[in-house]
Amino acid sequence: MPNQEEIYQKVSATLVEALNVEEEEIKPTSTLQGDLGAESIDFLDIVFRLEREFGIKIPRNELFPESIFQGDPEFVQNGKVTPKGLDELRQKMPFADIAKFEQNPELTAIGDLFTVEMITKYIEGKLGAKV
């Protein structure tokens, strides 16, 4: 079973192929959209590649949920994610760094949850790898 570093290296290589970026550009904290220029269709491509690379199944909306809140006012008010919305995020995306997002939970910044580190943690969980 690969360790965290090996998983990170493979995730990084996957992103190099999917997003046509240089390996040096990729850091654990890099956001897929903001830093690495991913567009919506790239997320699906990344999922396909991760499945092949790691031999796992990634159900739709598990790694990159498309619309967690679905316009529910209990989850989002005045452009900010509510405490209930944050709980929903924690439940749906236990592998994401919600603590950082919580400091300024603007809905528009939700894409910043999608980082290289997040994918690595998700894969770790899937493979049952030990840190």
Binding site: A18, N20, I41, D42, L44, D45, F48, E51
Partner: protein
């Protein structure tokens, strides 16, 4: 101009792979302008042929029920020019097929005029990613009609079957 960039399927293995052929004739319109005096097939048309071969492979895997659209050319490399008089072979393999979309990897080989054998090295290679249009959204926009596989593209497979029967018979 007809937007069909393959002449016929030679092999078709459902959900796995396909091989299509395209003969390049100097009578084709684009050769006149690309390039005057030096007729080579534009690289984007080579890619379109590969995408059509792959797109039909992907569409047929779901009995043409999905609207398969080219979403992304993940990578494409062109090693050699395609010249009038040559024949192109499009070899495509299905990498992934999921409800949301599919990806294929393909190689294009050229058969020089007067030869039956393709060159060993590919003329071009690419990885192509297709999306299935979201069912509910595309139905709103386009109705039930599958505009991707409406006519000639789908007909190509039938043509391959018909010609195989003719050869057998």
């Amino acid at each position: 101009m007809r937007w069909i960039w393959i002449d016929r399927f030679l092999n078709f293995e459902r959900g796995k792979s396909a091989r299509a052929i395209k003969k390049l004739s100097l009578a084709e319109e684009y050769f006149e302008q690309h390039l005057p005096g030096y007729p080579i097939m534009p690289a984007c048309f080579i890619l379109e042929g590969l995408a059509q071969t792959g797109g039909i492979l992907v569409g047929e895997a779901n009995d043409f029920k999905e609207k398969v659209v080219l979403a992304k050319i993940t990578s494409a490399r062109f090693h050699k020019e395609a010249v009038a008089g040559e024949t192109l072979l499009y070899d495509v393999e299905l990498l992934t097929l999921r409800p949301e979309g599919a990806s294929i990897v393909g190689k294009v080989f050229s058969i020089p005029p007067g030869s039956d054998e393709p060159n060993a090295d590919p003329l071009a290679e690419a990885e192509i990613f297709f999306a299935h249009l979201d069912k509910s959204r595309s139905q709103q926009l386009f109705g039930d009609h599958n505009f991707v596989f409406s006519g000639e593209l789908k007909h190509l497979l039938g043509l391959a079957k018909a010609s195989a029967q003719r050869t057998d018979g």
